[in-house]
């Protein structure tokens, strides 16, 4: 059996009376691309926030390599190799792209302010290393030459990729991508899909993906979990999910399963 990188055990998060996440269990195998889907307000981002430490779940455990991490400071969780991106891009807008990536490298560097003042060997070494690392990361996400642009001046698609570069700088073991293709056109979406696969294949990063674009989800996911009203309603491979009546119902409302079946058979007919 493959190693489980992160596991959620009956995680619940309430906002007042609202159960945003309700006793959700997740098991993400190492090296997989795992998608979480569900209608708006299903609690996907809340779950992400629980994993990355923004929220402390009311009940349940989040186990990272088998160790509970819920309630830890977010920076600590990040330092253990969990990086994330955000639903609406959150870059450091008044800093350059380079600087954004360099901040992402924060945990990989050890030089402190004293080193900076004295330009100690450690500082010099780390400084040139980090510069180079940042440049190569920008290169990796296809932003070569844009390093000295203010992040807020970059076009939207580039901002998305810069955010991923910043997350990658942390050398994550686990990458949480929150709707990475939102607002992208078809070409960009396709590129990004390949890019995500490259991340997993080349860098061996496990990825959890929140995504609305079913084409992307179905195309690259190893496994998919479906949340609805904070509750996990299905889990399985893309094929299993596609034919799961509860999922279809959640997306299309009661009776949706039948509707979908009808639609599918019609399409099959047309194809034939």
């Amino acid at each position: 059996m493959t190693e489980i990188i992160i596991e959620a055990v009956k995680v619940s998060k309430y906002f007042g009376g609202l159960k945003a996440v309700n006793e959700v269990d997740l098991q993400i195998p190492k090296g997989s691309i795992y998608s979480i889907i569900g209608p708006n307000g299903a609690g996907k981002t809340t779950l992400f926030n629980c994993i990355s430490g923004f929220y402390i779940p009311e009940t349940g455990d989040i186990l990272y390599y088998g160790t509970p991490i819920q309630g830890m400071p977010t920076n600590f969780i990040a330092s253990q190799g969990i990086s994330r991106t955000y639903q609406n891009v959150r870059l450091f807008g008044n800093l350059t792209a380079m600087e954004n990536v360099l901040i992402g490298l924060h945990n990989k560097l050890r030089s402190n302010w004293l080193d900076a003042i004295m330009h100690s060997p450690r500082f010099t070494r780390e400084n040139s290393w980090s510069m180079e690392e940042a440049v190569s990361l920008l290169d990796f996400v296809g932003l070569k030459g844009y390093g000295d642009f203010l992040a807020s001046n970059l076009p939207y698609g580039m901002q998305r990729r810069l955010e991923i570069a910043r997350a990658l700088a942390n050398k994550p073991r686990l990458l949480l991508l929150d709707e990475p293709t939102a607002g992208m056109n078809i070409q960009e979406t396709t590129d990004l899909t390949h890019f995500i696969q490259r991340l997993r294949d080349e860098l061996e990063i496990s990825i959890i993906l929140i995504e609305h674009d079913m084409k992307v989800v179905m195309g690259i996911s190893d496994r998919i979990t479906v949340l609805d009203y904070g509750t996990k309603i299905a889990e399985g491979s893309p094929d299993e999910i596609q034919s799961n009546p509860r999922v279809i119902e959640a997306y299309l409302g009661p009776g949706g399963a039948a509707l979908a079946e009808k639609y599918r058979s019609q399409r099959r007919k047309n194809n034939a």
């Binding site: 923004f54 977010t74 350059t96 900076a116 330009h119 040139s128 000295d148």
Partner: protein
């Protein structure tokens, strides 16, 4: 000639008329006339009244300005002239009406100085140009005339020909500069910055010995505010913590040096250098004590808490409670002068000390800013939450920013106290914090040249404005508003560094990948 013309003209005229009335009510017309007479070489004793002709020059300038600003950008030349006329006439009318009241006061010998302190008979008399009743008409005529003149001037100077001329001059200057730059050898171009710094250094080394103690003092004041500004910028500009209590940290440095190096109240004579070190450490401790409980606060809440902290420290320094420790309101006098290699300090050596302290501060600032620490601070300022999720220990770095900033404030305070040989609670009021805040923002946040310019503007300007006597803070306040409106981004806004090239040309071959990996592990 249309409605718009009359409306703009009369509006501007009214505005200028009211401003003129205000200026007369605060006796500024006398001040202005005195300044003009000084510029023209006739000295006027303080408290004495200048001659009427200088007053007239002032009125002419004012009237022309009124006419100038009444002229709109669009419209025909006649229209513009007419606008100037209307503007001047309205100003004249308002001023004449006011003059009528003044004339009435003068004739009936009604003394209103109980309420309007500046309105003495002599002042009224000079405003009416010494002509009494005729003065009112003269004023009206004067403003009408100068209004047209101002309008004409505006028409003339804003005309296409003049614009072309200015453009031409600008282009030729640019060409000239380009040619000079081109003709310079590459080495000079490359090291131009360094040559400039070298020149600046030489200038800084030569000047203090040459320009007299007053300028040394003012320069020192500016330098101390530069250091304070750098300290505040680390808190405010880099890590985004709104701090209005830097006077408290300043006081910690000043009082440490004062208490440890003066015969009273404790008789500790540690010497300047050790006490300065203690002062810096004390300020850091102060920053730490302030920072620890308030880590969660943000924005204006942080601002008011730090303001409260500053006030608490000042009141405590002044209070009966700590009188035995800090000398209370009497402050600490006879702070011993530092010696360097056995030589006692005078104003010139203080200027050098401050230059060195400034240089060191700037150096340290740049080093910290362009490092992992500085970038962590910047990211906190931009978005603390994301910064933390990216791996920055936000609380630790916020606290670090407070401490590092406090160290600069302590350094400034220590030098300040020793230089004045005295420090008391009145040196550490809220106004100091507000001034430092203004220095940073007026100069340009996160920009060292900006902070230096800001210090010159905010600490040097009031000294230069001393000629204006009691009007100086009035003028200063107006200038502050004006500066913010004209240059909201600061006098010298910061720019982000260009890093990408640096990374590309980095010492690639020197790097051992294994080493990097090892580093990321520990």
């Amino acid at each position: 000639m249309n409605k718009e013309t009359i409306r703009t003209g009369s509006q501007k005229g009214l505005l200028f008329g009211i401003v003129m009335i205000f200026l007369v009510l605060i006796n500024f017309h006398i001040m202005a006339a005195t300044m003009i007479s000084k510029v023209l070489g006739t000295n006027v004793l303080r408290g004495a009244f200048p001659e009427v002709r200088f007053m007239i020059i002032f009125l002419v300038i004012f009237g022309m300005w009124a006419g100038w600003s009444a002229v709109r950008r669009e419209g025909s030349t006649t229209n513009k002239l007419f606008e100037g006329l209307i503007g001047g006439m309205t100003t004249g009318l308002v001023v004449a009406l006011f003059g009528l009241i003044l004339f009435f006061l003068l004739e009936t010998q009604t003394d209103v100085r109980r309420y309007l302190t500046a309105l003495s008979f002599a002042s009224i008399d000079i405003f009416l140009l010494g002509l009494r009743g005729m003065g009112i008409l003269t004023l009206f005529g004067l403003f009408t005339l100068t209004g047209v003149l101002g309008g004409a001037l505006a028409v003339g100077l804003r005309s296409q020909a003049v614009a072309n001329f200015i453009k031409k001059i600008k282009t030729s200057i640019r060409n000239l500069r380009q040619r000079i730059t081109d003709s310079l050898p590459d080495n000079v171009k490359k090291y131009g910055k360094y040559i400039f710094y070298l020149l600046l250094l030489v200038l800084l080394l030569l000047l203090p010995a040459r320009w007299g103690s007053y300028n040394n003092f003012v320069f020192g004041m500016v330098g101390i505010y530069v250091i304070l500004g750098i300290g505040l910028n680390i808190m405010l500009g880099l890590s985004g913590q709104f701090m209005i209590g830097i006077a408290a940290l300043f006081a910690m440095g000043a009082y440490s040096v004062a208490l440890l190096n003066s015969p009273f109240p404790h008789g500790l004579m540690w010497g300047f250098w050790p006490s300065l070190a203690v002062g810096v450490v004390m300020a850091v401790i102060g920053g730490l004590l302030l920072g620890l409980p308030i880590m969660r606060l943000r924005g204006d809440y942080l601002g008011i808490v730090t303001l409260g902290f500053g006030e608490i420290i000042r009141i405590l320094l002044n209070s009966d409670l700590l009188t035995d420790l800090t000398g209370g309101p009497r402050g600490i006098q006879n702070i011993q002068q530092p010696t360097f290699l056995g030589m006692p300090f005078n104003d010139v050596s203080y200027a050098y000390l401050i230059i060195i302290a400034m240089a060191v501060s700037i150096f340290l600032y740049y080093r910290i800013e362009n490092s992992r620490t500085g970038r962590a601070w910047l990211s906190i300022k931009e978005d603390a939450l994301v910064s933390q999720a990216t791996g920055v220990d936000v609380q630790k770095y916020k606290l670090l920013a407070l401490c590092v900033g406090a160290a600069f404030a302590g350094l400034a305070g220590g030098i300040f106290a020793a230089r004045n040989q005295f420090t008391g609670p009145n040196d550490h009021t809220l106004m100091v914090s507000i001034n430092v805040l203004s220095v940073v923002i007026v100069g340009g946040i996160n920009s060292i040249p900006g902070i230096i310019l800001g210090s010159f503007a905010l600490r040097g300007l009031p000294e230069l404005l001393r000629e204006l006597e009691t009007y100086r803070l009035l003028v200063f306040g107006a200038l502050l508003v004006f500066m913010m409106i004209v240059r909201p981004e600061g006098l010298w806004p910061a720019s982000r560094p260009d890093l990408e090239e640096k990374g590309n040309t980095g010492l690639k071959e020197d790097l051992d990948p294994e080493e990097n990996e090892g580093r990321s592990d520990d």
